[in-house]
């Protein structure tokens, strides 16, 4: 496992949220697998040069979402998958990235494509009065 975590200190997105999102993404794409161990809070805080509380909060959020478990002798590990519906999406995302790499697309171009696709297919929110769209 050589997954790299990257945080932007100047970003408006909170640091713990950046960490949480990247670990979730790594899990969805198979870069992190159930049973993989994560660094301790202190190690990750030292490597990123940020407060241990920030890492602890990100880990807490991931644990609350059922993605991480903390075991006394094993430390923090990726939990067994309980949300199998995300597996297919993770595989589809990997196919997308492989195809984009084959076409020599930049990361930003791939993100633009995904953003465009999301805008073209807005999420349907179920309400009492029937499905509505997130789109403005």
């Amino acid at each position: 496992m050589s997954q790299t975590l990257r945080i932007d200190l100047d970003s408006a997105i909170p640091h713990y949220e950046q960490i949480r999102a990247q670990v979730t993404a790594a899990l969805a794409t198979g870069a992190l697998l159930p049973g993989d161990r994560l660094p301790t809070v202190r190690v990750l805080a030292a490597d990123l040069g940020i407060a241990t509380g920030t890492i602890a909060r990100a880990y807490r959020e991931l644990e609350a979402a059922g993605l991480l478990t903390t075991r006394r002798r094993h430390g923090t590990v990726i939990a067994e998958p309980s949300r199998a519906r995300h597996r297919d999406i993770g595989i589809a995302t990997l196919h997308l990235v492989e195809a984009a790499r084959a076409e020599n697309l930049t990361d930003q171009e791939v993100l633009d494509l995904v953003t465009g696709a999301l805008l073209a297919h807005p999420r349907q929110t179920v309400t009492l009065s029937g499905p509505t769209s997130d789109a403005p």
Binding site: S2, Q3, D47, G49
Partner: protein, 299 residues
């Protein structure tokens, strides 16, 4: 006398610098940051070795030449004190390790623990010397009849005072045992603390993970090499003094005397050899596997 100590320290410093230059030359440097980190580690090691060897040299030569008027307990604590100075230098080196800078930071999601960083055999040697020292101090403390003496008996065949008891010394009883036990414990815990600092120091992200781990292991190896030697030397000294006194009270061929003598030599030679032999931490690592593809995930 002072001039000879200065000359001796100068020779040791020159030899140490030469070894460090040779040592650094064979270190592959994959990035500019790697050079800075390697330099920081090398400077820490140089100051650490100079402080350890310098403290030991000043202590031993000073006591032998009579320049340092130290009591027996203080002399016994010289190696531990040198070890503590050595550890303090390394702790300072780790605490001043370059911190991550810049607006965008990155870190590998790979766990690491002290067990991954510290060479197993050297760490085992450290604990073994500490254990041996503790056992011998407790055994001699129980054997001693006074704080620093042991009861001996004049042989029955002696012409004068046959069968009478007398106190033989110096013997490493509790007078020496308690401060040495404390000194050994401080050295052991201090070493573990510095190893933890090495584990927790920020990783270098623009170099391969294996290179960062190799530099970490080199630092840990240096700390363990330097810290185990004072424990081994202290243990050897205790055994040597006990062997001398027991031999004078019983016989030089007494099994306990022989055992003490053998263990003293094993401790002294073992500690010095382990301190002197450098490790080879920058070995070629097997190439890391490729990132997972969709086919891998599907299985």
């Amino acid at each position: 006398m002072t001039v000879s100590i200065v000359i001796a320290l100068g020779v040791v410093a020159l030899l140490g610098t030469g070894v460090l230059i040779w040592d650094q030359r064979r270190t592959p440097l994959p990035a500019i940051a790697a050079g800075g980190a390697n330099r920081h580690a090398a400077v820490t090691a140089a100051v650490g070795w100079a402080s350890l060897i310098g403290s030991l040299a000043v202590g031993v030569i000073g006591v032998m030449m009579g320049n340092l008027e130290l009591a027996g307990r203080q002399i016994a604590l010289v190696p531990c004190a040198a070890g503590v100075v050595f550890l303090m230098v390394h702790a300072a080196g780790e605490l001043t390790w370059p911190r991550p800078r810049g607006g965008v930071r990155s870190a590998r999601l790979a766990p690491r623990a002290t067990a991954d960083v510290a060479p197993t055999l050297l760490r085992a040697a450290l604990w073994a010397w500490a254990g041996l020292l503790a056992v011998e101090l407790v055994v001699f403390g129980v054997m001693a009849s006074g704080p620093r003496t042991i009861t001996a008996r004049v042989p029955e065949e002696a012409l004068v005072g046959a069968g009478t008891e007398y106190q033989a010394g110096p013997f490493p009883g509790w007078w020496y045992g308690v401060p040495l036990l404390i000194g050994g414990a401080v050295l052991l815990m201090g070493t573990e603390l510095v190893l933890r600092l090495i584990t927790l120091r920020p990783a270098l992200v623009d170099v391969p993970a294996a290179w960062d781990m190799a530099l970490r292991r080199r630092s840990a190896r240096r700390v363990l090499r330097g810290a185990q030697a004072p424990l081994a030397i202290t243990g050897a000294g205790v055994l040597w003094v006990a062997h001398q006194t027991i031999a004078s009270a019983t016989s030089p061929s007494d099994p306990l005397v022989v055992t003490c003598l053998v263990l003293a030599w094993v401790s002294a030679v073992g500690g010095v050899v382990l301190m002197a032999v450098p490790g080879r931490d920058f070995r070629p690592e097997p190439a890391a596997g490729p990132a997972p593809t969709a086919a891998d995930v599907i299985g």
